[in-house]
Symmetry: C2
Subunit: 140 residues, 2 copies
DNA sequence: CTAATTTTGCAACAAAGTTGCATAAAATTT
DNA sequence: AAATTTTATGCAACTTTGTTGCAAAATTAG
């Protein structure tokens, strides 16, 4: 039994179900961001496609995960860190990195997004930054 | 007859066809970025869905348009400016803005993406920045 | 103008995402 | 701990989105 996933679900006032625990565990043990299809590949034997869609949406709504923009039209999700979860509104302020070689998308938690000045009349609500390149592991 | 679209196609050594001219004209007269479905809505009476897909891909390959990352899983495209086209490799260095109210995505050509320092071992190839908020027009 | 090349439309398909509803599971109440 | 209420899940059917092969049509080159 995994206490961590149970706790996160309870903290977000969600029912603790097998599917939610499983999907949350997948995120907890993954070093990179995951797309719907990645999760499906890992647990479609146990849980229905529709359940995965709905669970990801629920996690998004509760701020357990955040989604990462990309130009390849695949939405990827990653766990929010504690600060993000507790704040309620998702100002994930870190840069995301997608490796052109291994294809993995990572949160660079230690790299924060620099300020940017918008033209007159524009107001900012959220900001996202994604860098493509070669990651630490592939460079070696 | 629109000379501008003809010229852009010729400059990219593409055959000048009705569909390509039409789609390029749509971009040339649009103030915001367009998704496949936006273009389809405007010209699916004249051109096939498949042609639109292929044309957008061709324009991307030739650097006539660039795609804009988003968290909503919809790829949007916008014309590259001259600098971007001529450079060959797409370092669009401007910030993109998506308005939460009207939903439009814009290139903020005058706002360039600030430098960011990556952790040791990471190398950068491309960088993207998308800001969500309220645009000039909606704020009024 | 003709031949070669390229693009397009159509059909068929594959993949991705959504919705309603009955059943099953979890939480709540007694 | 059983019964009730509430919530989540699976299934089926469907819509939307994107892809591929191929013949016909349009464009370019000679």
């Amino acid at each position: 039994m995994n206490k961590q996933s149970d706790q996160i679900l309870k903290n977000s006032s969600l029912s603790v179900t097998g599917g939610r625990k499983r999907i949350l565990d997948i995120f907890l043990t993954s070093s990179n961001a995951l797309a719907h299809q990645d999760i499906e590949a890992l647990c479609s034997d146990q849980y229905d496609r529709v359940t995965i869609y709905r669970t990801l949406q629920t996690f998004l709504d509760k701020g357990i995960i955040h989604n990462i923009p990309s130009t390849d039209n695949i939405t990827r999700y990653a766990l929010c860190n504690d600060a993000c979860i507790s704040s309620g509104h998702h100002h994930d302020n870190h840069v995301h990195f997608k490796c052109d070689q291994c294809g993995k998308t990572l949160c660079l938690d230690e790299v924060s997004i620099p300020d940017v000045k918008l033209p007159k009349g524009y107001s900012m609500h959220e900001i996202n930054m994604v860098v493509n390149g070669i990651c630490k592991t592939c460079k070696k």
